[in-house]
């Protein structure tokens, strides 16, 4: 038995085989070939295989997500069959007498550049499609398998680290747990594991090597230990711990339908945070009073291109309808920093957390913002939707947002498309600046929601992606609590409500403190709704 210790990001025990998440790894070299015709044939054969894969993907997508969303794989097939593309590859092979890999990579770069050079953000994003198609051909030429290979039986996914988009793509019904070499407790992947109720340990270090692929393992999310090839005694102990944990959760089930009220009668709303439309089920199952944070960026991260208005509208409408009149607070696009989508074509930044992200992208690339706002205002007809804006630092931004909203509403009106005018608008309190101007902000918006993760990172000047700093990262720092208190006082002074939608909202050690501050709402991951209700009912 090997025991490796890391940092737990979600309590719970899971037992199963380790399955290593493998990424594509290859280097394209330019080599001279004598038989250029044979090389062209190699390319043609790889192309045929790629087309076959794309056809399968298209059919799978057709069944899973419908024709409109599946179309992208058909377009990929067309790109592959495009005569300009084929001629370019074959010309490079023939005239330069080089290998097919080099010719495909060079063609991909050229075609991607053609899109990047276009003066339209949407078309610039298409560069990602060309690269995607070419990657597929290159993988076939190099004999490299595709990235995600999940085993048939549910397993513990092990990796060096996982990008949020990689985590999202996994078939969650086959994931027992996560074990990663690196990563930080405050990364989005860790947050996702919590949302999905999946035991996870990060920062296990290099002892977690892919030689362990396929071994039996146990994740003890309470202690942060990973046992590989556990002996009988450990296994029995862990099985017992797992049973107890499940029992405890069953007990919590009894709290369903009960009020969130303290012994002295103080009430508070408990809502849930979600990152995907498929999480709405977990929100309802855990009896949350609403959705306090719907992270809309997942619509963008799961896509190969900007999600269009109809696609977004369908998702927001579904959330609103499923929640049947309960509040659904949708946060507008918060991409940038550690959440990246290739097709946005964002530059690499020295300091991404302080960079071009969230509302800053929306207010400069307004076509992206307007599409989302149109979808939101239209979907609001079907339920109780509120809109929340991230990363606010100034009143000017609020002014600009309101101008854009007026434009969007004017356009919808002119087009005769039904929408709801009086949608509640709120801002995220996640920068120290927003706290300092919270009194003025409160006059202009309907509610505040404190994003404690970013607020902590910006207040303490600690990069949440850097696991070396975890020791310095004190989420209970008095400065943070003072900030939340100040924002709460200012919100209430203007008759507005305030909640927390960051990780801190679920911190049971702070629940009493938050009740004292008079917060109106706490929004936590669905799995934390009932434990939090239990805690509140125990408070005086």
């Amino acid at each position: 038995m090997i025991t490796i210790t890391g940092k737990s990001v979600f309590g719970g025990v899971s037992i199963g085989r380790l399955s290593f998440y493998k990424r594509k790894q290859r280097v394209i070299k330019r080599t001279h070939v004598d038989d250029v015709e044979a090389e062209c044939t190699r390319f043609q054969e790889a192309k045929t295989t790629a087309a076959g894969q794309l056809k399968e993907l298209y059919e799978k997508a057709l069944a899973d997500v419908g024709e409109a969303n599946a179309m992208i794989f058909e377009i990929h097939q067309m790109m592959l069959e495009d005569l300009d593309y084929i001629e370019s590859v074959e010309n490079i092979i023939r005239t330069q007498e080089v290998n097919a890999e080099f010719a495909v990579a060079a063609t991909a770069d050229n075609f991607a550049q053609m899109f990047t050079a276009m003066d339209d953000a949407y078309m610039q994003g298409r560069a990602a499609d060309v690269k995607d198609v070419s990657e597929r051909v290159l993988n076939i030429l190099c004999g490299v398998d595709e990235g995600i290979k999940q085993t048939e039986e549910p397993s513990i996914i092990a990796a060096d680290d996982l990008a949020p988009s990689e985590t999202v793509q996994l078939d969650k019904s086959k994931v027992l747990g996560f074990a990663t070499m690196y990563g930080s407790a405050n990364s989005h992947t860790a947050i996702l594991a919590r949302t999905m109720n999946i035991p996870a340990i990060i920062g296990l270090g290099e002892e977690l090597s892919d030689k362990l692929d396929g071994q039996m393992a146990v994740i003890d999310g309470f202690t942060g230990s990973l046992y590989i090839d556990p002996d009988e005694e450990t296994l029995a102990l862990m099985q017992e711990k797992r049973r107890e944990d499940l029992e405890q959760r069953a007990l919590l089930e009894q709290l369903k339908g009960k009020e969130n009220v303290t012994k002295s009668g103080q009430k508070i709303n408990i809502y849930a945070n979600i990152g995907n439309i498929s999480d709405v089920g977990a929100v309802l199952k855990n009896d949350a009073g609403g959705i306090g944070l719907f992270r809309s960026e997942f619509l963008y991260l799961e896509n190969n291109t900007f999600p269009d208005e109809e696609q977004q509208f369908a998702v927001y409408r579904q959330a609103a309808e499923n929640m049947a009149g309960r509040k659904v607070i949708i946060r507008t696009l918060d991409i940038g920093a550690d959440k990246q989508a290739d097709y946005f074509g964002l530059d690499k930044e020295e300091n991404p957390a302080l960079g071009y992200r969230a509302i800053r992208i929306c207010l400069t690339r307004t076509n992206i913002f307007k599409t989302q706002l149109r979808a939101l205002y239209r979907a609001a007809v079907f339920g109780n939707i509120s809109i929340m804006f991230p990363m606010i630092i100034s009143m000017k931004e609020i002014e600009k947002i309101k101008e854009i909203i007026a434009e969007v509403q004017g356009e919808l009106k002119a087009e005769g498309i039904p929408f709801r005018e009086d949608v509640e608008l709120g801002v995220m309190i996640e920068t120290p600046a927003s706290v300092m101007i919270s009194r003025e902000l409160a006059r202009e918006v309907d509610f505040f929601s404190v994003g404690t993760n970013d607020l902590t990172q910006y207040t303490l000047a600690i990069d949440r992606q850097n696991s070396k700093l975890d020791a310095f990262y004190d989420p209970h720092h008095p400065a943070i609590l003072a900030m939340i208190k100040m924002a709460a006082e200012n919100a209430h002074a203007e008759g507005k409500w305030i909640g927390i939608c960051g990780e801190l909202g679920a911190d049971l050690e702070l629940t009493e403190e938050f009740l004292k501050m008079g917060l109106d709402e706490l929004s936590v991951s669905p799995a934390m709704v009932l434990p939090l209700r239990k805690k509140i009912r125990e408070c005086e």
Binding site: M71, I75, M79, D82, L83, D84, M114, M118, Y122, M123
Partner: protein, 85 residues
Amino acid sequence: MLGFKYTITDSEGIHARPAGMLVKQAAGYKSDIKIAKGEKSADAKRIFGVMGLGTKAGEEITVTADGEDEETAVSELEVFFKENL
């Protein structure tokens, strides 16, 4: 050779999805199908060419067909543009 002019009304222009549909449609004709926007012209059977025009809402394009089934091609393509773009 036959042809027609059309002004794009779809707010996103000829984006990937309609470009794909157009290529599929054009591939069904024996005639050469060309789309021209200003100085630029593209083979409607080639997706990179069609997307490379970067046609946006409000822009006018000229579609031409040259070949044995040009009449059917032009009349059907005109319907296609009205319905999809």
